[in-house]
């Protein structure tokens, strides 16, 4: 009984945090892209547009929910449901932190640990294609169908280098359970180099990391691989005919997939919740970062570029300083610091996703396929062979 209650509470917390992150990831994306393009980004709803996600949610819920007359009704309604379910499902096996003690209970910061965790993620991500493919087909629209076909072909092609890139670090850690993968990456070589698979002897998994990230971009249909929804050729691709919450669920699925890919990358290659530096340095870096952010905000609040900044920036500065103080509390250290490192690494990868979107143009379709089959796949096989050879030698 206790187990069920704890599991329910954990699931509730994870679902709440995940959905909030989904909403705010979109705000971050719009802000970052705007600043890359020398614009302001959302700035009307709330200070610095911080309430924009809330406004978007209200807009999407209250919009008219169109059901076009020419669609295959059952599959048209099933597709967004499938997409969002498959996207949210994989978060259930991701470990966010080590075992912690809360009010006398020992529990892992993870919903469930499977001894086939990596395979589970692969299975779920390969099922995610159905949402997109069915949406395009059931819409009964040329552009949507083209988008769905492209998406299916692209996701099947990029799953191969992705699986091979996952297999290489698994040779170093010798397990398929995500929790054990992270635990195998604890410790430091030479006293300072983290024992993450990306730095690990005998063969640092740097190439797998790059291959996995590229394939991850393709699997999540992000620029430069966003051909399924290429606006200038396909209107909006597979979700052309969707409106209101059904459209929003595709949007949510895309962002949830981004978060999953980023967390899996962190777990497989960047040591999960393990800190960057050993001992005291690892404990002091997080509060230092927040304190620095807080001080920068306070400084800019005292020398405001715009009138509004005089009030908003000091508030943010104080919040950051408060977070820094919380990170220093010894009692909370065991809970907060691993979470910080996991979130910081995942956030850095998510920022890379957005950065790439603001920087790179879209591939041509034949280039996309040629790249997957003629370059990425052979390189992934070569990387796996070399890793296997080195592991066998040592």
């Amino acid at each position: 009984m206790e187990f069920f209650i704890i599991s329910l509470i954990k699931a509730g917390i994870v679902a709440f945090v995940l959905l909030t992150t989904l909403a705010y990831l979109q705000w971050v994306e719009r802000k970052v892209i705007a600043h890359i393009q020398l614009r302001m980004g959302p700035s009307r709803v709330g200070p610095h547009g911080l309430l924009q996600p809330l406004a978007d949610v209200i807009k999407l819920i209250t919009k008219e929910d169109l059901l076009p007359p020419h669609v295959n009704k059952f599959f048209y309604l099933l597709a967004p449901f499938l997409a969002v379910t498959m996207a949210l499902l994989s978060i259930s096996v991701i470990p966010f932190g080590p075992e912690i003690e809360v009010f006398g209970y020992n529990t892992w910061m993870q919903l469930t640990d499977l001894n086939i965790g990596v395979l589970f993620i692969l299975a779920i991500s390969s099922m995610g294609v159905y949402g997109v493919a069915l949406a395009g087909w059931a819409s009964n629209n040329k552009y949507a169908l083209l988008g769905a076909m492209r998406s299916a072909a692209q996701m099947i092609s990029y799953e191969l280098p992705m699986a091979l890139a996952i297999a290489a670090p698994l040779l170093l850690v010798n397990t398929l359970s995500l929790r054990e993968i992270v635990e195998a990456q604890s410790g430091y070589a030479f006293g300072f180099l983290p024992h993450w698979t990306i730095f690990q002897a005998p063969f640092p998994q740097f190439f797998s990391f790059i291959i996995f990230l590229i394939a991850g971009f393709a699997e999540t249909n992000r620029i430069p691989f966003d051909l399924p929804e290429a606006e200038n050729e396909l209107v909006a691709g597979f979700h052309t005919e969707y409106s209101s919450m059904k459209f929003a669920s595709f949007f949510m699925a895309e962002y949830a997939n981004m978060i999953t890919v980023a967390s899996i990358t962190v777990i497989l290659f960047l040591g999960g919740w393990h800190p960057l530096a050993p001992g005291l340095a690892g404990d002091l870096i997080p509060p230092a970062i927040f304190a620095l952010g807080g001080l920068v905000c306070l400084y800019h609040g005292l020398h405001p570029a715009r009138g509004k900044d005089r009030y908003t920036l000091p508030v943010f500065g104080l919040i950051f300083l408060g977070v820094a103080a919380v990170l220093l509390i010894p009692a909370l250290k065991a809970i907060v610091l691993p979470l910080f490192w996991f979130a910081a690494k995942t956030g850095a990868l998510l920022f890379t996703f957005i950065w790439v979107r603001g920087t790179l143009p879209r591939f041509r379709y034949d280039q996309l396929m040629g790249f997957a089959w003629k370059f990425l796949f052979p390189v992934a096989i070569l990387n796996l062979l070399v890793t296997g050879f080195m592991v066998a030698l040592v």
Partner: protein
């Protein structure tokens, strides 16, 4: 709990299997087949074969059925037209099928009368580690021969496709 889950997913598999035949549209049939494969994966999981369950999902539901769906969409196959059935099928279809099932179950019961009943959780050895050990020691030859067979099939497909283009 195990029995309830087994009954639920076995029933789902059977319903989906019947649906594959009943549906007139190829996409609906393909999706029902995915349902069958998904529930089979759950049944494997219940029996303690985690790796087989994951492989079932990745390979069959995730890869092969996506290709099926892809081809159906590419050809833009519409619903099958229902043709008039012959009298023989109309009247004899169900009795013949029932008697076939009866015969099959009779022979199974006759041939394996003392087979021990399946118990959930008895089987240990479905983990990827033990699976890999068996695959690379006891069944190494069949495994390698199968992989060569698949390689031959791939090369054959490439050769056939090339001829078509020329």
């Amino acid at each position: 709990m195990d029995v309830i889950l087994f009954l639920a997913f076995a029933a789902f598999a059977v319903v989906c299997g019947i649906n594959v035949v009943l549906q007139s549209h190829p996409i609906s049939s393909a999706l029902s087949l995915i349902g069958v494969m998904g529930s089979l994966a759950v049944l494997y999981l219940l029996l303690g074969a985690e790796f087989i369950a994951a492989a079932q999902l990745i390979v069959y539901a995730g890869a092969i059925m996506v290709l099926f769906l892809f081809v159906i969409m590419l050809l833009n196959a519409g619903s099958e037209a229902k043709r008039g059935r012959s009298l023989l099928v109309q009247f004899m279809g169900v009795p013949v099928m029932v008697s076939l099932l009866g015969l099959l179950s009779y022979f199974v019961l006759r041939l394996f009368p003392a087979a021990p009943p399946v118990r959930f959780g008895n089987f240990r050895g479905g983990s990827p580690r033990s699976f890999g050990e068996v695959l690379f020691t006891q069944y190494l030859l069949p495994f390698e021969v199968t992989s060569v067979l698949i390689l031959i099939a791939i090369i054959g497909a490439v050769v056939l496709a090339r001829k078509e283009i020329d």
